[in-house]
Amino acid sequence: MQKRLANWGNYPAITSEENAFTQEQQLRDFVVSNHQLIARGNGRCYGDASLGKHSISMLKYDKILSFDEQNGFLETQAGVTLDQILDIIVPKGWFLPVTPGTKFITVGGAVASDVHGKNHHVDGAFSGHITEMDVITGDGETVTCSQGRHTDLFWATCGGMGLTGVITRVKFDLKKIETAYIKQKQLKARNLEEVIRLFDEYKHYTYSMAWIDCLQKGDSFGRSILIVGEHATKADLNPKQQEAPLKLPAKPRLTVPFNLPSFILNTFTVKAFNWLYYGKNFKKEINNVVPYEPFFYPLDAILHWNRGYGKAGFIQYQFVLPLEHKAGLVAILQRISEKGWGSFLAVLKVFGHQDSLISFPMEGYTLALDFPVRKGLFEFLDELDEIVLQYGGRLYLSKDARMKQDVFWKSYPNANRFADIVKTYNPGKRFESLQSERLLLTK
């Protein structure tokens, strides 16, 4: 059936023929008898990476195949979401090795985006924790690949936006935890200089990220709150929490039931929000123990928060700049501050080293910003792209909906090698998305 599909940014929207499968043979038959296919998980990438003429919904491919509770290995079909996984592994004392800021993504999506978390500087991206996975390639074969087996396919699939084929099964390692709580520290930083200094000072923490208020000027330019954390040990918990250290108290969920009119989001409301957010931390430093959910997934508590941006949708702009180019960060934040188009959510994070073929992370600073779609936005973002290019950075494909071809080809050093591998496993462009067409990833 033709369906209207859009990902989390609600931009762009497309009419697509959607098909779901639970049996591998049916899925393989479908792959070899169709073109312009793209696998899609829970639609939580922001832009157009999983939108195509024919989409393969992986949400019914949702079986957990094995869980080695002794050694911490999990094997699942690609359509299982991280929240389902957490429900099973946390009570048994295990956690995801790497998790993005939402738990409502599928395992297949985590691989195709090679997601990173607040612990990237310590634990790397998701791909580093995969033991093996199965991919149905363009000729309908199921190929098992890993870091030591069909290496080219493995590395082109991690962060490869579904262009090497359909990921069907993933086996990955887990992280041992003693409790379901996080011992967190929140530090107020007066400006960008200070938060960057704090990042360095607290880099021994496993988890770290900062919220930036990007509408401030002068001395408070880039004022922020750095949040760092560690998995709490049993001894860190209060007596009540200690009774069931791996079980969290249940809590109700809020939802945004419909699209808010877009006039609600303007400089004034964003300023007010940021003022409240920054202001709620009265003290310079706050230390406490919190359940893992609000620490890792603060926005998941508000289901459908993306509707807050109205019908036209929004663009999440996430870039990374090499460590030595802090100046680029200042330049971009200044442009945003001048323009007055700040976002509610400006998230800053320092990445550790990563050598992979096509994944987003590289050693440096990454900043994620939301911009509601409006007149002039794309031109403005093109200008920001220029700054990113100038400082040797790049944009995150999972969040991209609008970057121009040459920006991608100039900023991803392995683009040609990636395209060659894609050609091998995806002959005749069987797998194709709006994004791959736009960026000529399947040239």
Binding site: M1, E18, N19, F21, T22, K60, D62, L65, Q77, I88
Partner: protein, 243 residues
């Protein structure tokens, strides 16, 4: 540990029902034509819910195997859910007996064959529950799907008779009329969202109704009244309608 047998375990609805009962610590027996294809589901149920799940080859239209199939189960199930069915292609079935026969046998004859055997066994034991997933399509024949509808009508009548017969022996029979459900069977149809249930909703409703030993379950309540109205339309008018 109580056990649920799912006949036709590969369907989206059956998967949701299996998970619902497994979450309540029932062991699960999964039966379908290609048992090997049920293995991921079997593993999933065991990992998620820590119960025992088994898989079994079962072909609804291969009647001669039904007795051996049921006798061969590792334990006698406390609850049997008959969830198999085949929507088929009405227009094709009008012209092609093969298609019509498949619809009839998958939805009616096969169900009668296997449930006869199970009913005998439950009656002899004096307990057990049979849950039959029928369809609102069986409540009045409409030109768009009367072959499927007539098979489901037969099944609905069968379940009602069986309920009547087994009542005194302590065996409960529940009929489920799910209405539209968002599954692979219907993924190419354009269904009205308000009247369409998700497989999870069906599973929740079935589980709850089973706890309360309900007789007839409409998963979404408007269906009960929609079908009441559709049944009340005089035939002289009904035949002129394009339904």
């Amino acid at each position: 540990m109580p056990t649920v047998l799912l006949l036709g375990a590969g369907s989206d609805m059956a998967v949701a029902i299996a998970r619902k009962f497994a979450a309540a610590h029932y062991d699960i027996q999964l039966a379908a034509r290609k048992a090997a294809a049920l293995q991921p589901l079997q593993q999933d149920l065991q990992v998620r819910y820590g119960i025992t799940a088994t898989t079994h080859d079962f072909d609804a239209t291969d009647y001669s195997t039904h007795a051996a199939f049921f006798a061969g189960l590792p334990t006698m199930p406390d609850i049997t859910v008959c969830a198999f069915g085949y929507l088929g292609d009405q227009e094709l079935a009008q012209r092609d007996w093969q298609e019509a026969a498949t619809i009839i046998h998958s939805n009616y004859t096969g169900a009668v064959s296997v449930l006869n055997i199970i009913a005998e066994s439950y009656e002899a034991r004096g307990k057990g529950m049979i849950i039959g997933i029928s369809s609102v399509a069986g409540e009045r024949g409409r030109q768009s799907n009367y072959i499927y509808g007539s098979a489901k009508a037969g099944f609905t009548a069968y379940l009602s008779g069986l309920r009547n017969r087994l009542f005194r022996s302590g065996v409960h029979v529940m009929s489920v009329q799910p209405g539209f459900v968002n599954t692979r069977m219907t993924q190419h149809l354009n269904l009205p969202p308000l009247l369409t249930a998700q497989p999870d909703q069906v599973a929740n409703a079935v589980f709850k109704a089973a706890q309360r030993s309900r007789n007839v379950l409409y998963v979404k309540w408007p269906w009960k009244y929609i079908m009441l109205i559709i049944k009340m339309i005089p035939e002289g008018i009904f035949k002129k309608l394009k339904l």
